[in-house]
Symmetry: C2
Subunit: 215 residues, 2 copies
Amino acid sequence: MSMDKTGPRSGYSPPPGELLQLRSSPPRERADAARNRVAVLDAAAALFARDGVDNVTMDAVAAAAGVGKGTVFRRFGDKAGLAVALLDERERELQEAILFGPAPLGPGGHDDAPAPLERLAAFVDAYLDYVLVHLDLVRMSETAAPGARYRIGAYRFWHRHVTLLLAAAGSPEHTDPDALAHAVLAPLAAEHLHAMVAEVGPERTRRAVRAVALR
Amino acid sequence: MSMDKTGPRSGYSPPPGELLQLRSSPPRERADAARNRVAVLDAAAALFARDGVDNVTMDAVAAAAGVGKGTVFRRFGDKAGLAVALLDERERELQEAILFGPAPLGPGGHDDAPAPLERLAAFVDAYLDYVLVHLDLVRMSETAAPGARYRIGAYRFWHRHVTLLLAAAGSPEHTDPDALAHAVLAPLAAEHLHAMVAEVGPERTRRAVRAVALR
DNA sequence: GACATAACCGGACTGTAGTCCAGATCGCTC
DNA sequence: GAGCGATCTGGACTACAGTCCGGTTATGTC
């Protein structure tokens, strides 16, 4: 799901920019649809905060939003899609810091460009900061449907970023940064972090994941 | 589930050894129960092979075994438990090869003892050989219930093995082999392998996982 | 062989994710 | 402001995992 950023459905949230409204291709979201989308997101956020992500049913979200169940599902696809939509904003902040922000997480300026492995370490740290705060939500977005993690756009983004860093770091014996990036990202799966944090705590988790990522 | 190897329930399969029958503590499994256990396992194996693991419902397994649904669930706990029971034998072969087999996978004899990292590489290879053959089944055993992977006995075994090898390899900057072992095992999760193999194929997957494990 | 008891059996029942479609609503056009 | 096609809506419906408990059967004892 949600590989298409074109339509107004799925985990889509409208860009505030005014220029974008001129692009007529995706016909503007209908007013009632927009109202319902906001209602569902608000209701979901409130219920998740109050009862815990795992204890909230889709029926409950629909009821709290004053909306039919079908509406929730057509708009967000499934429970994972709802989680993705809720995470969307924070996730984008992190992605922008990576693309345009200061070193070592971002590419930095002309004269303080960080080494690839330095950026990789910064990415692991920043990602863990982000994901550990929203662990239950991210976990739901990755596990509600089988294979969801590898289909959502965010994973593709992290994967590409890590691939490029590994390629730039390029030690001779490590060809295939593409495959390597998948393996490096594996310990960052929410399901894995959930289990690992429960067992050894966040600090040891962080160090171990860093050590693996940096070889 | 199934952390108790004491009772005759759960993913239990009776050891063929005759000595063990003398231990009266777990009162012998009733004849009808044993019959049904075999019937369920046979039916499940046949259905899985014919229709694919994901397309077989627990109702179908019960019906094919000529047994009520409650029987299947009381005996195996859940879908993951059924998968574990089916994998049990092959898994034990691998575990024994690790504990007692020849080098480099096992500890070897007195004079051909392999280096820890050599054993680690052999373990990764052997584990991938095992899991890629039964990928769907292992995946079900790890994902049917949330967090199942980290609860089943097999994971504890792999984790302990890797921990000991990392400790033995002990490079000075890597304290905490326990946490490191979790991170090393992360790319071996069935869910992850499923996605990665689909994307880059088994050979590149194997090389990447090895590279990460061996730092 | 009859009895008591513990273990087992199976199908009806519950809870939840996700589907479907007949009708309501919107927003555009003339 | 009436007509009309596209889009949206919501609740009834399906499918499946997992639970429950009254009835049944096996096994040890007298």
